[in-house]
């Protein structure tokens, strides 16, 4: 779960990291009011969960409350990478001397958190990693011991931070580690961490991504989820504990198992089709779950055919088939359906489905081809 900049910075502040004074506003009048409180010289920042806000005109400087209001009006009207801006953060403007990157993420290969820093702040770390990898300093953190003070100092030295800032930098590093640890984050980054012209360190922008699997122990953080920014279908899918991702193709996919679901998408593509979604219905396949999944798939008007790919393992094929039939009773549609059932009791399952108005297939390749043809209107049964 991604957090907005303003949410991330609230958390940072809670752990002792200095952030600019500021508040979030959902309309231009509030933005003006906040700008007045902050003395007029502010920065208006769109709160959307994508990068590149600056280039898209989503971050603007205002020299007066009136200008703040005008700019907020503009920014609240635009879309950035397709996402409408619903909130702006109004922050006291800082005069920036130096920009630093400081972040913590999980290093899968080392199975440890890694703290990364770079003197090339303000730029996405991936870009720095590509263009000037030697500018990135990395320190792995022992997950049982936590970040050590000497490691934070090593990083400060590694990015040639002036010594007068080492102690504050270490405190910020410790704060970021605690924010990461206690929020169960998978990413906590300050970018940029700036040195102001008053020679203070300040976390001007921040980003956190939380581990969805750990939200059960952070009910306060779970409430921060902004469902406005994700496709409605994904919100709906989460309700039914379905793993769903919308894509831009036209063949809806319903598969049991994440790996098999990916392989199904791949094979559709391999044969010239385009998958409309990733969907893993998981183990079992009750008719309610299948029905919900089907409704979600069909809510996308691009979908011209649906491919069921089910491997009957512990769950028996005939049971799954009945689940699908029951779901079809509920969700009336004339979109063509192709079903491939393999494994335990697959034969019985295929029998049940072919008696309904469904196209059946034996192999995955066969299923993909039939689904593509059906989508093109070439075969309705």
């Amino acid at each position: 779960m991604k957090l907005h900049e303003y949410q991330s910075k609230q958390i940072f502040s809670h752990y002792g990291i200095p952030i600019p004074s500021g508040r979030v506003a959902a309309n231009a009048a509030d933005a003006k009011q906040i700008a007045e409180e902050l003395g007029g010289h502010v920065v208006i920042k769109s709160q959307v969960l994508v990068g590149g806000r600056g280039k898209a005109g989503g971050i603007r400087l205002a020299k007066s409350p009136q200008e703040a209001e005008d700019l907020a009006t503009q920014i609240l009207g635009i879309k950035i990478k397709g996402l409408p801006v619903r909130k702006v953060l109004v922050d006291e403007a800082a005069s920036i001397e130096t920009e630093i990157y400081l972040g913590i993420t999980n290093d899968r290969a080392e199975r440890k958190p890694v703290m990364m820093a770079s003197s090339a702040g303000g730029v996405e770390i991936e870009q720095v990693a590509k263009e000037t990898p030697d500018k990135i300093v990395k320190v792995h953190i022992d997950p049982l011991l936590g970040l050590r003070d000497y490691q934070a100092r090593d990083i400060a030295a590694g990015i040639d931070l002036p010594r007068e800032h080492w102690q504050t930098f270490s405190q910020i590093g410790r704060g970021l580690w605690r924010a990461y640890l206690r929020s169960d984050a998978t990413l906590a980054e300050i970018n940029p961490l700036v040195i102001t012209s008053q020679n203070r360190l300040l976390a001007v922008d921040g980003k956190m991504v939380l581990d969805d699997n750990a939200l059960f122990r952070h009910p306060d953080l779970a409430e921060m989820r902004d469902v406005d920014v994700e496709p409605k279908a994904e919100t709906e899918a989460r309700k039914y504990n379905l793993s769903f991702i919308k894509l831009d193709g036209y063949i809806g996919c319903m598969v049991n198992g994440a790996g098999l679901a990916m392989a199904t998408m791949d094979i559709i593509k391999l044969h010239g089709g385009k998958p409309a979604n990733f969907l893993d219905i998981g183990g079992g396949a009750s008719s309610e779950k299948v029905a919900a999944a089907l409704r979600i798939i069909l809510s996308d008007s691009n979908v011209k055919a649906v491919l069921f790919n089910i491997f009957g393992g512990i769950t028996r094929g005939d049971e799954v088939a009945r689940g699908i039939l029951a779901a079809l009773q509920e969700v009336k549609t004339d979109v063509p359906m192709v079903t491939r059932l393999v494994g335990t009791n697959a034969e019985e399952g295929r029998q049940i489905l072919s008696e309904a108005n469904m196209i059946t297939a034996e192999t995955l390749v066969d299923a993909a081809k039939k689904a593509i043809r059906a989508a093109q209107g070439g075969e309705q049964v």
């Binding site: 290969a109 997950p143 750990a214 198992g257 790996g259 593509k269 391999l270 512990i314």
Partner: protein, 287 residues
Amino acid sequence: MSILVDKNTRLLVQGITGNEGLFHTQHMLAYGTNVVAGVTPGKGGGWVLEGKVPVFDSVRIAHEATGVNTSVIFVPSRFAADAIYEAADTGIQLIVCITEGIPVQDMMRVRNYLDQKGIRLVGPNCPGVLTPGEAKVGIIPGDISIPGNIGVVSRSGTLTYEVLYALKLVGLGTSTCVGIGGDPINGTSFIDVLGMFEADPYTDKIILIGEIGGTDEEKAAEYIADHLTKPVAAFIAGQTAPPGKRMGHAGAIVESGSGTAADKIKALQDVGVQVASHPEEIAELLA
């Protein structure tokens, strides 16, 4: 024989009285796996499945009473890390964790702790380990595979079943199938299992089933080049996965352009591994 689990496995089921635990214990027993004990805290002293398996309050008591040597974990995700520690602290040397959805920071701590103790964890978020004809530890359906000389290692569940089943359909059997799980931090990597298969006299050929996310497949390719003499065929899922999205598995995500299927396929092909374009093709490649 083969690797990890066999006729000598004396299995403990942690979370045996839960729906999942009980259901799969039944299937494991039916397969002939030597399930000797179960644990559910607070339910010690009872029996499940018509008196076939005794239930204990803790792993320690179960271990003392029955001498288990392997544990399979079905407890809910918020308690799973604790269950792993409990098994490890009791001295169980092989732990198979089926549970999905364990917080990743928990797993980083668990993995670092187990590494210090030299204890092997398979999973979490995995279907378990199957040595056809000998033992089934986890949830891989027993009837989709026959004994044979092909070692299978995979990050996936049903996709693996596809492959086992496709092999069976053409008469090929499996020495052991190891599901290492779809989480970003897990206990056993491709490399670990490849090394075991290379050393295992019952395995002649190897199938590796990977997917997007991380660099485990790339490391496996290096390892294959340096250490493996047995032929390896592979399949990588997720060629069409969009970047930045988790494809069901917590570990299946292309991040900052790294972890793509294309990279993995290239790394494997570069070291001479045949990579199938779809899962059913693997059987053909090894036939």
